[in-house]
């Protein structure tokens, strides 16, 4: 049974991941979203590292390094390059306004607590009890994904979902196998690189990166 300081650190990191998702919904400045992602990546890596040290699992330690590198540094760095090319870019008109989406986020958090409560009751353990935080991050990430218009905010939504899934995986299974985690991280990295290419060519052709304006075909 994991207790004491290690558990406190994991609790704190899990709380930071969920709070990051809420802040991502709150702020309109795309640069703020990217620093939130970077913080979330570091928090996830902390969870993995603490579990690795505690269980003496070298593979999980490598996973922690990969997570820190990919989610904490490389992906936010790539997104920051996309945003820097378009200074002053903000999520100006999301489909749902900010106060309403924040209230929705509150509802999603409560729902995930109620739903995941049944799940974690099957195997009560201080770590699995934190799983609702990961589930709530996934739900808030989905909400960002469907209500935001800018390409960068949508990819941030996708990454929030991914971070939430990773958090649940770390908490429930005490670490995914190294290969799976490597595959998932590289997959997301690839998505971000594709987005960067897409955003660059979109801006070159249309002068903006607003995906909603791409619904109609033009000659």
């Amino acid at each position: 049974m994991r207790t004491g300081a290690a558990l406190d650190v994991v609790e704190l990191a899990a709380g930071i991941v969920l709070a990051g998702a809420v802040v991502a919904l709150w702020r309109k400045d795309l640069r703020a979203l990217i620093s939130v992602l970077s913080l979330q990546g570091a928090a996830l890596a902390t969870v993995a590292a603490v579990l690795a040290v505690h269980d003496g699992d070298a593979g999980l330690g490598v996973v922690a390094g990969v997570v820190l590198l990919a989610k904490g540094l490389v992906i936010p760095g790539l997104l920051a390059r996309v945003v820097r090319a378009d200074p002053g870019s903000r999520e100006t008109a999301p489909l749902v306004n900010v106060p309403a989406s924040l209230v929705t986020a509150a509802v999603l958090v409560v729902v995930s607590y109620l739903v995941a409560g049944h799940l974690t009751a099957l195997f009560p353990d201080p770590l699995t009890r934190l799983a609702p935080l990961g589930l709530a991050t996934v739900l808030v990430g989905f909400f960002v994904l469907v209500t935001r218009r800018k390409a960068v905010s949508q990819i941030v939504g996708l990454l929030l979902v991914d971070n939430g899934v990773a958090l649940v995986a770390f908490l429930l299974t005490a670490g995914v196998p190294l290969l799976v985690e490597l595959g998932a991280s590289l997959d997301v990295l690839l998505v971000v690189i594709v987005l960067q290419v897409l955003a660059t060519s979109m801006r070159a052709r249309f002068g903006h990166i607003d995906l909603d304006q791409l619904r109609e075909l033009h000659d």
């Binding site: 899990a14 809420v22 935080l133």
Partner: protein, 325 residues
């Protein structure tokens, strides 16, 4: 209430004394904190600024002036400042500020304190409406719009601490967090602190939400409400607002950083508690003033966004608390 008083036993006189001390500390400390914030802002902007005691000097000046009320006002306008000060004083008497054992400690429930504060804001809003002028109504309407989101957020943020401490009694929460120092860095506390900071800024009308130093009609909230007040009435309103500021800062200080609060009830411990309270609230006030200098005021229609964010952080804090305990 009598049974509560009688049940406290031998230390009753000390505890009544402690409560009186808390009310005086908030009454004198509130204006001093306002003065301190003004001084820090002025220094950061490269001005000398008024002395820290300016708030108290203003109060003395206003009290000496002729009592005059706007035409056609009813008893509401006369009662509102009294209700504001009285509710803040009662809240200051029961909240654990200097000592963790004030008189009627059983009454220091989260809900009681928050609703005492709410009573003051509603009284002031009614007072603003009473004269029937355009500005008063506008200010009251804006203050109630903000209050409708910030009061629930305040309640839910403190509720996160109540979940952790298994009691909604403020003295119980302070005592529990004194005996569990490892709680101070727990995720629900950090989230609740973030939420509470947003709420305190909104409730006390500081910059991103309201600018206390201007009378610009497009933006002012609090100043619009009290435009019709003058003389001793204005002194009461100013005192009441300063007391609310002191009370909220003291609450944040003691709930999240409970060091130094007197638990034994002795005279020396109470002195330590008083000094600790002053130091902690002054530190928070300096931070708030520095934030004020470095941020621009939000557009009025974006204030609900800020407060909704605070509310959601509070909800997340409660959920985290339920998950981890």
């Amino acid at each position: 209430m009598l049974t509560v008083l009688l049940a406290t036993g031998p230390g009753l006189l000390t505890r009544i004394g402690a409560s009186v001390l808390q009310v005086v500390a908030v009454g004198v400390g509130g204006p001093l904190l306002l003065g301190l914030m003004g001084k820090i802002r002025a220094r950061a902007e490269g001005r000398v600024g008024p002395p820290i005691t300016q708030g108290l000097l203003d109060l003395r000046k206003l009290v000496r002036k002729e009592a005059i009320r706007a035409e056609h006002t009813s008893a509401v306008a006369a009662l509102a400042p009294l209700v504001l000060v009285a509710s803040a004083a009662v809240a200051a008497a029961v909240t654990p500020l200097v000592t963790s054992r004030p008189v009627i400690a059983g009454g220091a429930d989260v809900f009681v304190v928050v609703y005492l504060l709410l009573m003051g804001s509603v009284a002031l809003a009614l007072g603003g409406l009473d004269a029937g002028t355009a500005f008063g109504g506008m200010g009251s309407s804006r203050a109630m719009t903000i209050g409708a989101i910030s009061e629930p957020a305040l309640l839910v943020a403190v509720l996160a601490l109540a979940v952790q401490a298994h009691t909604s009694n403020l003295t119980g929460i302070v005592a529990a967090s004194l005996s569990h120092p490892e709680w101070l860095a727990s995720p629900e506390r950090l989230l609740a602190l973030a939420a509470l900071v947003v709420v305190v800024i909104a409730e006390t009308g500081r910059i991103p939400v309201d600018n206390p130093s201007t009378h610009l009609e497009l933006t002012m909230i609090h100043e619009a409400m009290i435009l019709e007040y003058a003389g001793p009435d204005l002194a009461l309103v100013t005192l009441g607002e300063a007391m609310r500021l002191g009370l909220l800062l003291g609450l944040v200080a003691n709930l999240f950083f409970p060091w130094g609060v007197d638990v034994s009830g002795g005279g020396f411990a109470m002195l330590v508690g008083l000094v600790a309270l002053g130091a902690k609230t002054a530190a928070i006030a300096v931070l708030v003033a520095l934030v004020e200098v470095s941020t621009a005021k939000l557009r009025l229609f974006r204030v609900p966004e800020l407060l909704a964010g605070g509310f959601v952080l509070a909800v997340v804090a409660v959920t985290t608390g339920l998950v981890t305990r």
